[in-house]
């Protein structure tokens, strides 16, 4: 299992909408947010799944960027 944290960057003032959308994504946990950045941790069984999850985040409305920060394997 891979554990990866990402910083999700969003359009200014849209945190409420984005947090609501992120809550619906399985295997994505929101840990906190500040200004227009949200800390999300992803759990994935394979690189393909990680890529899919990242794409899912990127597709959320008002998300402007997804930056990986940390990755570890269990």
């Amino acid at each position: 299992m891979n554990v990866t944290s990402v910083v999700v960057e969003i359009q200014c003032g849209m945190s409420g909408a984005v947090l609501h959308s992120l809550a619906l994504i399985e295997k994505a946990s929101v840990y906190g947010f500040k200004d227009d950045k949200i800390v999300v941790v992803l759990e994935s069984a394979s690189p393909d799944e990680l890529e899919k999850l990242t794409a899912e985040l990127q597709a959320v409305e008002y998300v402007t960027g997804v930056s990986p920060v940390f990755s570890a394997h269990e």
């Binding site: 299992m1 554990v3 990866t4 944290s5 990402v6 910083v7 946990s29 840990y31 906190g32 947010f33 500040k34 200004d35 950045k37 800390v39 999300v40 941790v41 759990e43 930056s67 990986p68 920060v69 940390f70 990755s71 570890a72 269990e74």
Partner: protein, 771 residues
Amino acid sequence: MELTRRQLLKFSAALAAASAIGLDLPIPQEARAAVGADKWVKGVCRYCGAGCGVYVGVTKGKVVAVKGDKDNWNKGYVCLKGLLLPPILYAPDRLTYPMLKKGDKFERISWKEAMDLMVAKFADAYKKNPNSIAFYGSGQAYTEESYFMGKLFKAGLGSNNTDGNPRLCMASAAVGYVSTFGKDEPMGAYDDFYHSDCFFLIGSNMPEAHPVLYRILREQKDKRKDVKIIVADPRKTELGRKADLYMSFTPGTDLAILNAMAHVIVKEGLYNKDFIGKHTVFKKVVAPGPPPKIEKTSWEDYVAFIEQFTPEMAEKASGCPKADIIKAARWFAQSKATMSMWCMGLNQRTRGVWANNLVHNLHLLTGQICRPGATPFSLTGQPNACGGVRDGGLLAHLLPYGRLVVNDKDREDMEKFWGVPKGRIQAKPGLSAVEMFQAFGKGDVKCLWIACTNPGQSLPNVGEYRKGMAAKETFLVVSEAYHPSKTSELADLILPAALWVEKEGVYGQSERRYQLLEKCVEPAGEARPDFDVMNEFGRKLLAAVGRADEAKHLIPYKKTAEIWDEIRQASSGTAYDFMGMTRDRMKKAHGMQWPVPTASHPGTLRRYSAKYGDPLVKKFDPSAADISFYGNKADGNKAVVWLRPAAGPAEPADKDYPFVLTTGRQIEHWHTATMTAKVPELRRAAPYGFLEINPADAKSIGVKNKDKVKVSSRRGSLVLEARVIEVPRPGLVYASFHDPEKLINLLTNDAFDALSKQPEYKICAVRVQKA
């Protein structure tokens, strides 16, 4: 609290991401520290000059984790790079034995062979010409190491040819402090963040270069509604985007802006007449020299001088709207307490000292100084640029603790203290960084020892100096933790160096805080602490040049703690005064801020004010009621307001090279990435260098995001990936200097400030074309 492995990983991952954006996550403390470690040893982060206190987790003789020290100034926070320090010690390219270049290849040799060869080469060159040997040190070396090499060269060998990489990053700040206040180093502290209601940041990318300090700044902005942030920078970084007032300007025109702010302060009567009268003198240069002829002048003369710098004039010169200049001046003067901060944007300039003086001027004119929250404060780039190379006197013009080689009394004092014959220390400053590598290229310096730094990547116009470093006629020794680096690959002899907590020593950071790093683990392979190698080399070299008897008393050390005791003595009675910073106290303390004159003194948060606790005000200026700039005795313990004209860069953009290139840091990496590139997470996050270009400029030259572009200066060219982004202003392009495969310093300009000898990395003219 019990954690599963998965939970722990998730907490670690979240914490890393939170640190990257300055977010205080509500993760239980147990989780932060739950990484298995047999013991936690107090230390300091290896990277920037902020000097974050850390605890180093050690298991079975190996560093396994790092966590922030909540009892230190950083309150437990560290940035992502700090959290991910452990892998730097265990990289596969750690250099674990000495190597000698034979033909085009390096071969393993023993330490004895290495030392014998090094001593023979240096002794031979020295006997022919004492100034044909040199040492180039580092703001990352420990204080004891830098002090030792200054002593060996200046007192033992009578050569001032010692310098270091702080010449490339902090020299203008140091000369700025000395020329304004009489002595180097800031009077303020990080504590001022909590008291200031106006922050003026110029030439700093704090969110990326000093992320933990930025965290404090943002926290203060979020908590206190009255806090205003002014940012002056040609790049609109995260800092500029979060500012209350962002001032964009043409690179190199900020001296006009600073003078124009002073103009507004004078014209609108926002100056502090009482403070100016009591605590300042005015000076100007009447003949440029060298050496420059300086005269004292008057407030009236200053007012007449500043008349020309109207906001309209500054707008025309800089492109910064006059309304912004006026607003910045008013906020600066009228706030309860203004704190200025700057970094390489001001220092790495051919007029870096002038720019520093002009920031100090604003504080002196308004009295925004020497009280909580009101201070000029230079941000430092390396963890021990202040402690070792500046304070310890390694730089070519310095002697320890504020003394100068050109000053007769300072030389005599140190000759007496070190017990060498009168006249041993040369009165002429040695070669500064760029001059040293120029002399090495010409063969005037025959033997050069580089320790703990990577000039083969970091020097400006590096292509020129790499040729000199690779020359067969000279002898280059490089002490490094890794091989190959862009410098070790050019060496004749490479010495494996212990890294960070593989050795013991003292770091001194931006706010005069000195901290002890204790040894946590054994060095890799045959690597040795630089201090051990220097100690052995010094004794053997002095013996080889006929000074074996002197070596006995000059180099009596068996461990670094002994040299620290000598350093305390050398600082005693100076404006630094470390006497109370005993090794025992430092082992317990979470850093101590000098001056610390006695073993019971707690350290000094703010200098130059008796009211706020500087114990040296009454010592050096007994009649002072409160504030005394006692470093400036010659000017009656007053600070200097300088009349400095606006002056542009050495190489402005022109029709052949129409863009300005500036360089800087990005958050994932540090310096030449010899360490951060060893950390998989950081390497993956930022694998290669790129060129930032404004969308309008990109459109004008037909470049799209991620296109390859060729960027060329008069010195070299490079192909980089374009990052089209609204960060640099039109006309400006930016590249980080971290990527060893994309040496941006092939393009940068090695012209340097005549006063500080610091090169102008921040501005050179380039051409950009689609590759």
